[in-house]
C-alpha cells in the first residue's frame, strides 16, 4: 500500500540526490569506520517502513549497490547503517535504489549523534553477558564443594577449583562491576554515600576474603569462598540495569522518533516559479514548498493547492489519516500520504508546533516527582546506617571466626536495597509518561501524575474543549430533485475559495469533489458567488452561497442554528444549518469519566440554553452558563473548599487562571500555543477520549508506585535485621537485593502501555 503511494516526479530530486556524491555532502551523514581500512559508515533515515518485513526489502535494495560492504536496518527506528568503500560507491545510487523499492531515504546526519547511545547499550549488554556466562561457569566449579562430604575432595583438587573460580570471577570484577566501582568512587571522592557504595564495598570484601581463602586456606580469613555469590549478585544487578535501560530507551524512543522527523531537504519555489530542492534549514516564513506524497512536512503552514490525506499520528496521537484541503493548516513533522500539496510556510524551525512538543517532552523528562525526591533524601542517612550496621555486625561476630564475621558484613552490605526505594517512583512515572506520549498526551509535570490519581471532579470548559473551534454542517435541506451530496458539492466549489468559518464548514462537509467554480467573488460578510459546473448533467450556471439577504430569498424560520443558503439560476437550491460541533468522542469520554466515579461538570461563558443543550448531548448533568473567567475561578475555589480535588479541562488559551488554580489542568485542542500553555497535561489532537485514559493511567501509576514503595520498604525492614543477625548468607542477600530491584523495574514496565490503546 505504501509503495503505490510513492511516485514522485524524479527530475528535480535526481539532481539534488546526485549532489550527494560530492564528498563534502556525504560527509555530513557519514564518518570513517574506526580501524576500517578506509571504509565509511553512513546513516540513512528510511521513510515508508511500516512492518518488519520492510527492513529486509530495504536491506536488499541497499546491499545490491557497488561498494556497499554491509547494511544493517533497524526496523524499530527506521534507520539504516551502511558500511561502504568510497572507491566504487555512489551514495546517490542508494537513494534511487530505495525509491525504486518504494521507500524514501533521507541522509540522517543526526544519527551520528545517536552512536554514543548505541555504544552504551552494547557495553551494558556485554557486561551483562560476561557476568552471566562467568556466573554459570563458576557455579559448576562451586558445585562439588556443596555436594561433597568433608574429606571427599583432596586439598589439591579443591585448590584447583578455587583457582578456576578465581580466574573466571576476575573478568566479572574487573569488567562487569566497573560501573558500580566507578560510581562508588565518584561518591566517596565527594564525601557522599551513594547507592553503589555498599554494593561496591560488599563485592570487594567478598572477593578479597575469598581470594585470601583460596590461596592461603590456613590464613586468618578462614576457608570460606564466595565466588558464586559474587558472580550471581553482579549478574542479577546488571539484569536490573539492563531492564531499566531498555525501559528508558523505549520512553526516549517516542521522543527520538519525533526529533528525527523533519526532512533534510525540501522542494521550494524559486523566483521563476519552479521548484528546487534546498536544505530545510534555509526555509523562511513566506516560502512556497511542494510536499510530495510520502514526505514529511518541513514547517508549519497553510495548504495553497492540492488535497491529501495527512498522518499527524506522532504529533496528535490521532491514528487515522486526516483530510487536508486548500486553506487547511498543516504542521511540521506530519506525514503527507496521498497527494502532492503546495504549502505556504508560516513558521519554521524552533517556532513550529513540532519543536515546541519536542522541547516540552525534553523538559518534562527532567522533572522529578516529589516521592522520588523524598526517596533520594532518605537514601543517604539510610546508607550511612547500613554501613555502620555492617561494621557493628562484623565486630559482634568476630569472636565466632573472621570468616563468619566477614560473611555477615558482606550480607548486610549487599542485602540493603535503596535502589528499589529510589527507583520505585521514577521508573513508574517515566514509563507512564512514555506510554501517554504515544497516546497523544504530553505530561508537562511528572508531579501532576500523582495528583491526577486523587481527583473526584472534572470540570470541562465548552468552546474549544467539548466542542470544536470551527462550526460544522449539521443539517442539509435541498430542493426536490437534488440530493444533499450534490448541493453540498456545488456549495463547496464556491466555499473552498473562502476562509470564512461557515465556508470552511461547508467545504469540509463536502470533501474533495469534481465540482468547479469559476469567476468566484467573495462579498465580505455576505457570501460568495460564481459560475459552477458539475458532473451528471449539471450545467454551468451562476450560484450564490451565503446569508438569506445575499441570496435574495425569504428568511427561513428563525431557528436556533445559523444558516447558510445556496441559490442557482432557478432560485433556492439548498439550506445548510451550522452548529457548534460537539467533538465526536465527547459523550463517550464523559461516560467513561462517570464510570471512573468522577463528577463531571460543564462551565461556559455562553448562553445558558446553549450550554444546557450541549451538556445534554454530552451526557453531563450539572452545567453553568454565562460564567465569566472570575466566576469560573470562584466555582473551582468553592469546589476545592468542599475538599474536592478538581481537574479543569480547557483549551489552554482562555482559562489561564482557572487552569492554574485547579489541582490538575488539562489542555485539549489543536489550537493550543504549546509554549504558552500553562497546563499540567496537553492532549494533542483534541481527543477527549484521552482524558479518561489519562486519569485511569494515573490511577494505575499511583497503584504501581505504592506497590513499589511498599515492596522496597517491607523488603528492607525484613532483610536488614535478618542479615545483621547473621541468618542470611551472602548468596541469599545478593539474590534478594537483585530480585527486589528487578521486581520494581518489572512492575513499572506494566505502565508502558495505556489501556484501551489501539
Amino acid at each position: 500500500m505504501q509503495s503505490a503511494v510513492l511516485t514522485p516526479p524524479a527530475d528535480p530530486q535526481a539532481a539534488a540526490v546526485a549532489a550527494l556524491d560530492e564528498p563534502a555532502e556525504w560527509q555530513a551523514f557519514s564518518r570513517a569506520v574506526a580501524g576500517g581500512d578506509g571504509l565509511w559508515e553512513s546513516y540513512l533515515a528510511i521513510e515508508g517502513m511500516y512492518c518488519p518485513a520492510c527492513s529486509l526489502a530495504v536491506e536488499q535494495a541497499l546491499a545490491r549497490n557497488p561498494g556497499v560492504r554491509s547494511v544493517q536496518v533497524n526496523g524499530a527506528t527506521a534507520t539504516a547503517r551502511i558500511v561502504w568503500s568510497p572507491g566504487p560507491a555512489r551514495p546517490s545510487h542508494w537513494f534511487t535504489a530505495l525509491k525504486r523499492a518504494g521507500y524514501a531515504g533521507l541522509p540522517a546526519g543526526d544519527l551520528l549523534t545517536a552512536a554514543p547511545r548505541i555504544h552504551a547499550q552494547r557495553l551494558l549488554l556485554w557486561r551483562w553477558l560476561v557476568a552471566g556466562f562467568c556466573m554459570m561457569q563458576v557455579m559448576m566449579y562451586a558445585l562439588p564443594a556443596y555436594l561433597a562430604q568433608p574429606g571427599d575432595i583432596t586439598p589439591d583438587v579443591q585448590a584447583l577449583l578455587g583457582w578456576a573460580s578465581w580466574i573466571l570471577t576476575l573478568p566479572v570484577l574487573v569488567f562487569s562491576c566497573r560501573p558500580f566501582f566507578q560510581s562508588a568512587w565518584r561518591d566517596l571522592r565527594r564525601l557522599r554515600i551513594g547507592m553503589d557504595v555498599p554494593v561496591a564495598l560488599g563485592i570487594l570484601i567478598a572477593f578479597g576474603a575469598s581470594t585470601a581463602a583460596s590461596f592461603e586456606p590456613q590464613g586468618g580469613f578462614g576457608g570460606q569462598v564466595w565466588y558464586d555469590s559474587i558472580t550471581m549478585f553482579v549478574f542479577f544487578l546488571l539484569s536490573g540495569r539492563l531492564l531499566e535501560q531498555r525501559l528508558r530507551d523505549r520512553t526516549a524512543g517516542a521522543l527520538e522518533a519525533l526529533v528525527r522527523r523533519l526532512p533534510d531537504t525540501v522542494l521550494r519555489r524559486n523566483g521563476e516559479g519552479e521548484f528546487e530542492r534546498v536544505a530545510t534549514r534555509r526555509l523562511v516564513a513566506g516560502d512556497r514548498v511542494r510536499v510530495l506524497p510520502g514526505e514529511i512536512f518541513p514547517a508549519d503552514g497553510t495548504v495553497l493547492a492540492g488535497d491529501s490525506r495527512v498522518d499527524e499520528g506522532l504529533l496528535t496521537g490521532e491514528s487515522h489519516p486526516v483530510l487536508r484541503l486548500k486553506g487547511n493548516a498543516v504542521v511540521a513533522g506530519s506525514h503527507n500520504l496521498s497527494g502532492p500539496l503546495v504549502v505556504a510556510v508560516e513558521r519554521t524551525g524552533a517556532q513550529t508546533r513540532f519543536s515546541a512538543i519536542v522541547a516540552l517532552m525534553e523538559r518534562a523528562s527532567l522533572d522529578k516527582p516529589q516521592l522520588a525526591q523524598l526517596a533520594d533524601r532518605i537514601a543517604t542517612p539510610f546508607l550511612a546506617a547500613v554501613l555502620l550496621a555492617s561494621i557493628g555486625a562484623a565486630a559482634w561476630w568476630w569472636s565466632a571466626g573472621p570468616a563468619h564475621a566477614l560473611g555477615v558484613a558482606v550480607a548486610v552490605l549487599i542485602v540493603t536495597c535503596p535502589c528499589a526505594l529510589s527507583l520505585a517512583t521514577p521508573a513508574a512515572s517515566l514509563a507512564a509518561a512514555g506510554a501517554l506520549a504515544r497516546r497523544g498526551v504530553l505530561v508537562r509535570r511528572l508531579q501532576a501524575l500523582e495528583s491526577c490519581a486523587e481527583l473526584d471532579t472534572v470540570v470541562f470548559d465548552k468552546t474549544g474543549t467539548l466542542t470544536e473551534h470551527c462550526v460544522r454542517v449539521t443539517r442539509v435541506q435541498a430542493r426536490e430533485g437534488t440530493t444533499e451530496q450534490e448541493t453540498l458539492a456545488a456549495a463547496a466549489a464556491l466555499a473552498c475559495h473562502s476562509l470564512h468559518p461557515a465556508s470552511m464548514a461547508v467545504a469540509a462537509a463536502a470533501g474533495p469533489a469534481a465540482w468547479v467554480a469559476s469567476q468566484v467573488e467573495e462579498i465580505a460578510g455576505s457570501g460568495m458567488r460564481g459560475n459552477v459546473t458539475g458532473p451528471g448533467g449539471w450545467e454551468r450556471q451562476p450560484m450564490r452561497l451565503g446569508s438569506a439577504s445575499f441570496c435574495e430569498i425569504a428568511q427561513g424560520q428563525s431557528g436556533v442554528a445559523k444558516q447558510v443558503h445556496l441559490t442557482d439560476a432557478h432560485g433556492w437550491l439548498a439550506t445548510f444549518e451550522l452548529d457548534e460541533a460537539l467533538r465526536a468522542d465527547a459523550a463517550a469520554a464523559v461516560g467513561a469519566l462517570q464510570q471512573l466515579n468522577l463528577r463531571v461538570q460543564l462551565l461556559s461563558g455562553d448562553q445558558i440554553a446553549a450550554v444546557r443543550r450541549l451538556a445534554q448531548r454530552a451526557g453531563i448533568d450539572s452545567c453553568w452558563g454565562r460564567q465569566s473567567p472570575e466566576d469560573k475561578l470562584a466555582h473551582v475555589r468553592r469546589l476545592q473548599q468542599g475538599f474536592h480535588r478538581v481537574a479543569m479541562v480547557g483549551d489552554g488559551m482562555n482559562d489561564g487562571p482557572v487552569l492554574a488554580s485547579a489541582d490538575v489542568s488539562i489542555a485539549v485542542g489543536q489550537a493550543v500555543p504549546l509554549a504558552q500553555a500553562r497546563s499540567d497535561f496537553l492532549i494533542l489532537g483534541g481527543q477527549l477520549r484521552a482524558v479518561p485514559a489519562l486519569l485511569q493511567h494515573a490511577r494505575k501509576t499511583r497503584a504501581v508506585v505504592r506497590q513499589n514503595l511498599a515492596w522496597a520498604a517491607a523488603y528492607n525492614a525484613l532483610c536488614v535485621p535478618l542479615a545483621v543477625a547473621g541468618w542470611m548468607p551472602p548468596w541469599a542477600a545478593g539474590l534478594g537485593m537483585a530480585a527486589s530491584s528487578l521486581a520494581v523495574v518489572l512492575n513499572s514496565t506494566r505502565l508502558a502501555k495505556v489501556q484501551g490503546e489501539d
Binding site: P52, E59, Q72, N74, G75, L129, C134, A164
Partner: protein, 45 residues
Amino acid sequence: MDILFLLIPLSVALGLLILGALGWAVWRGQFDSLEPEAERILQSD
C-alpha cells in the same frame, strides 16, 4: 582424578574463548535489533 588437572584448566580456557566470541558478536552489533533476524526466514531468496 589426575585428568581433572587437565580438564579444569581446559574448561577455563574454553570459557574465556566463548566469552571472546560473545564479545565479538556484541560489538559487531548482532544484538542491536533482533526483530529483522526473525523475519529473515520469510525472505524469498
